[in-house]
Symmetry: C2
Subunit: 206 residues, 2 copies
């Protein structure tokens, strides 16, 4: 049971655009909102600075886990009926994608969510390298974003600073992986934790 | 769909007695067998040698993930309706527990499974230190194992060698975590992968 006051309180949904599990989480995000009875606040972040802080590295580079994870990406996508192709270039730098998201977000949150889904799909279903500026702009244009204005904004120090603040805030909140959900201060790491998040909210937290 | 020949082929179930997620997997193992339509072959192993090989460390020692994992242990147990208390001494050396399992296994596989469940319960539900020889023997006696004979066997170089071979075989099979399932050569890591294992078997593998 949720207390009346907390009903509908948003759950933070953190992700890195280079994360296969984040992609699957984005693809099932609408369904997740229905399951948990709460809206998700989408918050792209960057795993690079987190890994620098805690000495971790991209999953696919970790001994034994690396080879395993490549099978697990495919099976996770299949389990959730989400199209998936391991991108040729992986992982990629996703700072521009995150900046694009926050720029659109400040104008139109609904469109920002559509952009995030489109970027993830382009990378993980269509094998397009969204770290390349022209591809990023192409995907943005395809969902109705003004490409010229976005290209200009991506060079704006204010947007860089805005994105850096978001990433810092994610790290300060304890985010160390992708996807990562925080509900009423409680952290849930991984798309495999959505059933647990649902259970936790349904049964009233601790 | 499974091919007729593979129907009922056992799935290897690897675990370390010091692993909270392995404990939860042991507690739902009977239900898991029903869900996947295959018997599980229980194979205690040791994470210590694996971590030495791949440079990993106990989850609770990993920066950021460590604190998180302690919450996740409790929530995972709760999700599966399994009693859980974080043991005061954690992690522990589980080589004696693994040896005891294989010794009983060679005489009575059904009793070995009962021993594994009892050891896990003692450690993770009753906060009893199963690395202490007297506790290990007490738990074994409680399910009808001859304690004196077991105490003697635990000193036997042949049993030590038998257990070492099992651990080596697990590592050779690519096991790097607990619990770890291998079905027809396909690896699944984590109690959170049971639904995926079920889906994978039901839909006929790759």
């Amino acid at each position: 049971m949720t207390t009346p006051g907390s009903l509908g309180t948003p759950v933070d949904f953190y992700f890195d655009f280079s994360s296969p599990y984040g992609y699957v989480a984005s693809a099932i995000a609408d369904e997740t909102e229905k399951r948990i009875g709460r809206p998700l606040t989408w918050r792209p972040m960057l795993l690079g600075p987190v890994f620098k802080l805690n000495g971790a590295q991209p999953l696919t580079n970790v001994p034994m886990k690396g080879e395993y994870s490549k099978r697990d990406f495919v099976r996770t996508a299949r389990l959730h009926k989400v199209p998936f192709t391991q991108p040729d270039k992986f992982p990629i730098n996703t700072v521009a994608a995150a900046r694009a998201f926050y720029w659109v977000q400040d104008q139109d949150p609904v469109k920002a969510r559509a952009l995030a889904k489109a970027l993830y799909r382009a990378y993980f279903a269509e094998n397009r390298d969204i770290s390349a500026p022209e591809t990023l702009l192409e995907v943005a244009r395809s969902i109705g974003v003004d490409g010229e204005a976005l290209a200009k904004a991506l060079e704006d120090p204010a947007l860089k600073e805005r994105t850096r603040r978001e990433v810092d805030a994610a790290i300060a909140a304890g985010v160390f992986g992708s996807p990562f959900f925080i509900a009423d201060g409680e952290p849930f790491w991984g798309v495999d934790r959505v059933p647990m998040l649902e259970d936790w909210i349904r049964t009233g937290g601790w």
